[in-house]
Amino acid sequence: MKTIVVEQLKYRYPLTQTLALNELSFEVEEGEFIGIVGKNLAGKSTLCQALIGLVPHFYHGGYGGRVIVDGLEVGKSQVDEISKKVGIVFQNPFTQVTGSKLTVYEEIAFGLENLGVPRAEMIDRIDHALDLLQMLPFKDRAPFDLSGGQMQRMAIASIIAMRPKIIVLDEPTSQLDPQGSEEVFRAIQSLSREGMTVIMAEHKMEKVAQYADRVLLLHEGRLIDFDRPEKVFSRDDLDQYGIAAPVYTEVCKALDAKIAGEPYYPATLDEACKALVMRRE
């Protein structure tokens, strides 16, 4: 089933002339894990925010085309309505803390209180979200006392508790140290295993290749490619779009080790090992 349908999406920020998103069209199946890649200002963040209606409702500006998430047309709906279907996690864990709550537990409750979720159900949902993100030991801590990785997991838990079908992550680890990043990636993986549709903009290509079912390559607001990671990362013109393939792809390319029976180079460690072993034999 198609859970996201984007048709001819165009967007221009206020006071600017160039299109940040230019005639984008694509569809996402329920339960898929999609990686969005591209260099800075390619439109990754804008696209992420268009999926939940912050583009155009927060910024305004010029908007054209349609985005439909789980049957709801984003351009014609309130962000509060859309946020029951789509959740978004931003780059900076610090600015996502509401600042009005004294504990992690209360912080996660914030969105549920606003949406009017009954108290008993609220507690169930928070407990489940804390468990899923392995945040139970921190539930009584003050939100600002957490490490970056913990704070970002709290941000994800806050969104998960709202029970969206789709979660959008906009470079969720770009401001974290390696350990914090690893914690967050593991958490995202567990969401995907639970059957959620995950959309993640990311510049660590190894991670994209490892998790994503399909990769969406953006350049200057246009969709360049939308396909399996090994196909996108095997393109010869990647550097033209300001991105580098995963290191495994580069190595296999240099050694000319392709995936068995396919014209593409491996994008993950596993695939690369297999291809290299096969090539030796």
Partner: protein, 201 residues
């Protein structure tokens, strides 16, 4: 007319709401720095005035009100009494800003004088009611004593007491806020206004 309606509207953007706690924080930090540098000024309303310039008189007034409530709850309960002064400073600064009075340093000085006189006019009755006319500032109260002993008028003495204390402070406060306002990118400042529309392309 429509622009006029939108500056008095109570329907704020989320960015404008989030601006209020930051405005209160800027007030607090301004006061802290002024104290640490031993400046002979309070400079404790820069955030209120800045929020007025960015988001209009209502947000400015709310910033002022909440500033004094929070300050009253955390530092000094007397600040509750002067919440009214902060509210009017926010209203005047916001109204003048949206009428185009923050397009140059010269005009900003006029806004500063207007905000200062507003503060004096609102605070004087509060001083008379609460303290019998004094302000608790040494030089101001010395003037108060002199004027009262010469003229016998509590109101005149209190007005002048407040004037010498407040007017220079508020002019510099408004200029500081304007100095910050000028350098903010437009992509940020437009988020605080509530008159934006999405157009179809």
């Amino acid at each position: 007319m429509s622009a006029n309606q939108s500056i008095w509207s109570f329907r704020f953007s989320v960015a404008a709401i989030v601006l209020i706690p930051v405005a209160v924080g800027i007030n607090y930090i301004g006061k802290l720095f002024a104290g640490a540098l031993k400046l002979p000024l309070w400079l404790d309303a820069i955030g209120t005035v800045l929020s007025s310039m960015l988001a209009g008189p209502i947000i400015g007034a709310l910033s002022g009100l909440i500033n004094n409530i929070i300050y009253g709850l955390t530092v000094d309960p007397i600040s509750f009494i002067y919440a009214l002064t902060s509210v009017f400073m926010g209203l005047v600064a916001g109204y003048m800003a949206f009428k185009g009075w923050i397009s140059s340093w010269g005009k900003a000085v006029v806004v500063g004088l207007a905000v200062g006189i507003t503060a004096v006019v609102i605070s004087t009755p509060l001083n008379v009611w609460f303290w019998g006319g004094q302000t608790g500032n040494f030089w101001g109260d010395a003037l108060f004593t002199y004027v009262m002993s010469q003229t016998g008028s509590t109101w005149l003495a209190s007005f002048l007491d407040e004037l010498v204390v407040d007017l220079p402070d508020k002019v510099i406060t408004v200029l500081a806020a304007y100095g910050i306002y000028r350098i903010l990118p437009q992509s940020l400042t437009m988020l605080y206004k509530n008159n934006n529309k999405t157009e179809s392309i």
